[in-house]
Amino acid sequence: MRSAWRWPWQAIVALMMGCAVFVFAQSRLPGIRRAQVNAEIAIALPVFVQVAMAGGDRYLAASWAAIRALVTETSKMGPEDFRVLGVVQRDASWLNPAHEDNYYIAAAILPWEGQVEPAQVILRRATLARFYDYQPAFYYAFNLMHFTGDYLAASEWLRQAAPKLPKPDERLLLENFAARWLDRTQDVELAARIVDAMAAQAKRKDFADYLRVRAQRLRDLGVLRRAAIVYSDRHGKPLVELSELVSAGLVAKLPVDPFGFGFGIDPNGVPVLLNRPQK
């Protein structure tokens, strides 16, 4: 005969206790302030952890980090968030240096938010891994010029990027830029030698001639700068007009700029190249 069913009192008591604890906690929680959660990028995990979380697959870990970088809303990010973004993207480039989106986003965001160093690391790795792609070297060169003011290195990197362009006209354009960036370096003699070397390597004769003219222009600038130093030593004041160099007998005549822009003087009395026609 089947025994009479009995209430499972222990289970019922446990159920009631559970309900009481749940209701108590639920009623209290709305009054407790939530811990601040930053919806944007806030954490950079160690590389080991990223790889382990991706089942040991470094490419998947890199893709995941790149997607994190892609979906962050930069308008809501502070300086610390951008530092973390730099770390995340640098890790992604370590895991997969050829990741195109990663270097592209890094170039587009990081240096403009003060993260020049990680951006350059990412672009340098991408340049090595993507030996057929001109863009990482181009962005690297631009950052050198724009953010660190190293025109000499920027020109060198731009020259590395130029042969990777598919069309001859585009290659020529980039080499032209490389030559023009050298105009802005402080060591004009070195810049002139580099432009001469570029001319020696140029396949097209007209472009080689153009580069030689640029090199001569830099040498003329060097002559003016050396004369300006002598002038300021002799007179105890900086140069105001270039014509003063002629009247002081330091140069026989002012050089003629083959591009027609001429030479000028910066506020410190140092001769500089002008890059647009004088009014």
């Binding site: 697959d57 490419y59 998947l60 895991l95 993507r130 057929y132």
Partner: protein, 267 residues
Amino acid sequence: MWPFCISTLRSGIRSRAVLLILILGALLVGVAFLASAFSPRQPRTVTIDVGMSGIRFSLVLFAVFWVQELVAREVERRTVLYALAYPVSRAAYILGRFAGVVCLLAVAAVLLAGLLWFSVVSAGGHYEQGFGVQLGWPYWLAIIGLWVDAVVVAAFTLWIATLSTVQMLPVALGAAFAVGGKSLGAALDYLARGADGDANIMNRFGPLMQIIQWLLPDLSRLDWRIWSMYGVPLSDGTVIYGLALAVGYVTVLLSLAVITFSRREFF
């Protein structure tokens, strides 16, 4: 040996595995396709990247579960005794089962790779990437690498299955082996580059990793997707030595599996 191989194939195909492959494949295509939508410049590359990670994950899962289903469970339920009642060696049983799982993995790899191939072709719509992906020989070579990777994991799981008396231990250890073997390359690479200048990590883990690399195969050496994704050709050494590493390790594991299974007592 071959009757066991064929029976494994039949059991694998009759089981829900094929359906599972199709479901997982459809999910894979969906995930890889969705991932491509995040990419502003290389949707097809991202589809291959995420898709191949998905294929690797799926194949490893299949390897571990098929070995569990077709070998470990037979041992656990003692149904293996019916097979061993025939005048065949235990080695033939183990190697036959392994060959069957290897064939099933090949079928799964081809099916999943085919699905991924179509999803790569359709990713990005009419957008033409600046640098296209390689969907010919480089793509299929990468799939072969993923298949060999799964075969190594299957061999390890099989060895564990021959000596384990704990249910699901082969699955757990097989999965851990797959993650460990795949992570090993990144870890060795990190240490070889100086661990970001962290001398503490170098001192603590450097000697340990030197030993581990002789015990655990570096499965990342079988990941050849970079050619398909970026058109960077692989050196002959990369492929040949990668395959040699896998063949050598599988041989060792199968030998161990045969030895332990031959000495195993079922009562």
